[in-house]
């Protein structure tokens, strides 16, 4: 078969687009249920905090644990189902989610103990910013633009909440910004790549 320059370039372009589309759709299929889960956790957490402020620690520790448990169950289901892909070499070891959960909370508790933030809102904002930094880094390493965007938008929303939103509306603002953005992005990705 004889191809000219233009046809060869178009073919390479098609290969490039297909590879990129495949990577994006696989990443979206795997991550959208997790993003929706954490969005629901955030909405529930902020609304419960607003109504039961004295239970704030119990609420967030319980919801954090439920979130990690949910992630583990979703990952196990995705792996068992083998959709969209199956990787026989990748086996989630039992200690990995526990180690990851422990490392995350250890980091948060140690840094909060060291820096002693002045209020509950600042503590909350700090935790959200650490999580969003992880999102942005994951996005950079995996070339997932939606993760980077989500991290930046929620970080900005959090900072606006700390500096410009009245304290009494902070929980509603964060339920809308963090929770709402996560749920919306998760649903958008799910529908776009279904």
């Amino acid at each position: 078969m004889n191809l000219d320059n233009r046809q060869a370039a178009d073919t390479l372009e098609l290969i490039s687009k297909t590879a990129s589309q495949t990577k994006k759709s696989i990443a979206a299929k795997y991550s959208s249920p997790h993003i929706i889960l954490w969005g629901c956790i955030a909405i529930a957490g902020y609304l419960l905090t607003y109504f039961y402020l004295s239970w704030v620690r119990v609420i967030w520790i319980t919801l954090g644990f439920l979130g990690w448990l949910g992630m583990f169950l979703i990952s196990s289901y995705q792996k068992r189902k083998g959709f969209p892909t199956k990787n026989s070499q990748y086996i989630l070891l039992w200690w990995q989610p526990i180690a990851s959960w422990t490392a995350f909370y250890a980091f948060i508790f140690i840094s909060l103990y060291m820096f002693k933030p002045r209020s509950g809102i600042v503590i909350n904002a700090y935790i959200i910013l650490v999580i969003m930094l992880a999102y942005i880094n994951l996005g950079i390493w995996n070339s997932e633009i939606f993760m980077i965007g989500l991290g930046i938008v929620i970080s900005a929303g959090t900072l606006i909440g700390v500096y410009w939103i009245p304290v009494s509306f902070y929980c509603f603002w964060m339920a809308l910004t963090a929770g709402g953005m996560l749920v919306t992005t998760g649903i958008y990705l799910h529908l776009k790549y279904r």
Binding site: T18, A19, K81
Partner: protein, 110 residues
């Protein structure tokens, strides 16, 4: 040596190979239903193209049961990865350095 490949060059098969080459590792396999949705193909159409690629030894098709349901997984073979890399090299040779765009072709092709 860079070799143009008529089997791979067919547009649907080219996209199938590009999708399989973009998986994270040689060991990862794509689900049949996922590829069907990704390229908006019918079962028969995708099956025919996969059969052609399998016949050439470029892909491996694994049929299995998950939760009592039949499932089909596909991944590339070493021969398939080499043929795809050769095909890309042949395309780049045709362009002869006149095309300055960067092409993301999945995993690094040697």
């Amino acid at each position: 040596m860079a070799e143009f490949n008529d089997i791979i060059h067919q547009p649907v098969r080219l996209q199938i190979m590009a999708a399989l080459m973009s998986l994270r590792s040689d060991d990862e396999k794509a689900d049949f239903a996922y590829l069907k949705n990704l390229f908006k193909l019918t079962d028969g159409n995708l099956g025919a193209h996969l059969a052609k690629l399998e016949e050439a030894g470029y892909i491996k098709i694994e049929k299995t049961f998950i939760a009592r349901k039949p499932r089909t997984f596909i991944n590339t073979t070493g021969k398939g990865r080499d043929a795809f890399a050769d095909h890309i090299a042949a395309l780049k040779k045709i362009i002869g350095g006149k095309d300055n765009r960067r092409h993301n072709t999945g995993r690094d092709n040697k």
